[in-house]
Symmetry: C2
Subunit: 414 residues, 2 copies
Amino acid sequence: MSRRGWLGTAGVGVVAAGAGVVAGRASRSGGSASESAGAFAFRGEHQAGIVTPAQDRLHFAAFDVHTETRAELIELLRTWTAMAERMTGGQETTENGAVGDGQYKPPSDTGEALDLGPSGLTLTIGFGPSLFTTAEGVDRFAIAARKPAALADLPKFSGDALEAARSGGDLAIQACADDPQVAVHAIRNLARVGFGKVSVRWSQLGFGRTSSTSTSQTTPRNLLGFKDGTRNIKAEDETEVDRSVWVDGHDDQAWMAGGSYLVARKIRMLIEPWDRATLHEQERVIGRAKGSGAPLGGSEEFDEPDFAAAGASGPLIDRDAHVRLASAEELNGIQILRRGYNFTEGSDGFGHLDAGLFFIAYCRDPQRQFVPMQRNLARNDALNEYIKHVGSAVFAVPPGLGPEDYWGSSLFAP
Amino acid sequence: MSRRGWLGTAGVGVVAAGAGVVAGRASRSGGSASESAGAFAFRGEHQAGIVTPAQDRLHFAAFDVHTETRAELIELLRTWTAMAERMTGGQETTENGAVGDGQYKPPSDTGEALDLGPSGLTLTIGFGPSLFTTAEGVDRFAIAARKPAALADLPKFSGDALEAARSGGDLAIQACADDPQVAVHAIRNLARVGFGKVSVRWSQLGFGRTSSTSTSQTTPRNLLGFKDGTRNIKAEDETEVDRSVWVDGHDDQAWMAGGSYLVARKIRMLIEPWDRATLHEQERVIGRAKGSGAPLGGSEEFDEPDFAAAGASGPLIDRDAHVRLASAEELNGIQILRRGYNFTEGSDGFGHLDAGLFFIAYCRDPQRQFVPMQRNLARNDALNEYIKHVGSAVFAVPPGLGPEDYWGSSLFAP
């Protein structure tokens, strides 16, 4: 199937496009319903933490890589992989890591997650454009030739107010768990072990997932008070997941087969003007009823929006309503898998709360999915009056791991 | 009982000192074990959120008060009280607040906690020294004569690195809940309604409570990886709670009878040097085993520390060990009720995680409990090499509410 062909076919003829591509991998990661205290498989065809039913808490960290040698970077990725497998399996016990290495060494684990179990922890790695080629064009790790076209830096969108310190990164790790201490513990220990080779460029804590990624979950609310993610791709729709989330390896770098792309956008909500808007205005902007989550004109949350229905003046669902502009109907079939989290970070210095949405999306090609979607939203979305994009990053998320693989082994394979 | 008498008597002769002082109040707030999805009584002898079994999540906000009129401040406190009672009761439904006020008004509730239930939410208010008298000595609200002596600003302690933007405040609200979205929702809505009269001076999110306040709870771990709060006062020890937490009204302002004092300290942990310390050093600094939490020389977490036991050179529990310096044995019987939370706030700009402990303590007189304790710790604690106090505040926490009371009604009573 050509790169051009897969968009716009809306699920027709692409059934199981990703299946069987990556031989020898046992199962789709995270396809089963979440057990909140349970563990998700670390190895599999795809990395866990993408279609895995969204856990309640997030700790996301973007890193700058300081080491200049390919061997040292690979060595760190191998070490991280072993740690990640141990932590996602909940194998922090008093018998190892935290206190098991003897009195006269620094403990190999910091210990604050002792006894908390796996808590549904997933750790997902991604590689940023700058890992392949620095801003000066340097190919530090002899991987520039493997840089995917889809991994280009995102263009500037209308209204962007990005902060450099909140954007980019050579690589990123997404930790999701049902217990924030478990997510924080994981990122902290990976950062700790990377000391001298990598440093935290920016990081983000999130709570109250704003998108459900499984039909087994109810739709959570974002900090605008609206249900968010009703029409999100669900893990159970494998046809759509294969069409819109997983790279199939024919229209991308071979090492990315079974992988995906992660787009992160830190979206500050201007909650004070929002909170002073009437319910009518809020529902017009979103295009849904605030209480039930039903599309305007519908009665149940999962009713399909009727974009053609007429209202008193113009369409019932406004031309600039968020639900319309972000819809597959509007975007020639484009869909993305959203996995965002709410955040709150104290005061903004003007007596208001600094809060919003840390938007995470997974897609097969950000240039052909996220970029046209965000262009449409950035130009026209009625919601723009109430939000501001302050951070942005894109990462190539390699496929899942076979029994002998480490994070990035397909990228660094000879 | 004289003000001088109650310290040093260590539980003798002060049984039920606080009981019966505040007539007509139904019950001790939060004395029962927590039901994680349940509601705690909003009204009672004492405010909930103090001895209430510590919930998992915190959103704490300190406010500057901008209104200059006593009537307007009282009106806001009345409004807040009604909102707080509604929110702690989980009474946000689609029938009121979020969508029940009609289409052409801003909703009276922002809606993101719809359907989440009470989630154990408690809201606890406190009044700062500057509410009584401004830095210029102005008695804005005709309450200067009622300022408790115990509410003096805290002295500067050795090693303090306080940031003004993270310290002080005219009043504070502590929101604790088992769901962070519920805690954030509460603070957000209180701040929203206070717009123009108050503004958020600073706020703090916390997770993974670091102190258990009930014998029904297991002891959580702080971000040093150690169990924190083993020797904390527990709600079930009513004798000690009455001795060390509740103001009895004879040795303080009458309006504070049944109240307490809240001391907040934002303590940044220097986790990188800590993580590079040997297990032996970490355990020497704390005075406990990292795995079990047992005091050095003991075998179980709740064994009493033997401060007299001899080690290979000097005492087995170091002279500067945290557990010794903070102990009632060392401090002539002083105890406080700790109710702290872990925090993590992204990168510190040097590639390290900005993380630590948001310390909250409740005590009957901060000048006679927290201040001498912190003086001792600030001078000698071996832990000082690994921590830095960056924020500080103290608040007078009024008593619980009778059926007709509002937050602060005893303070503003004629």
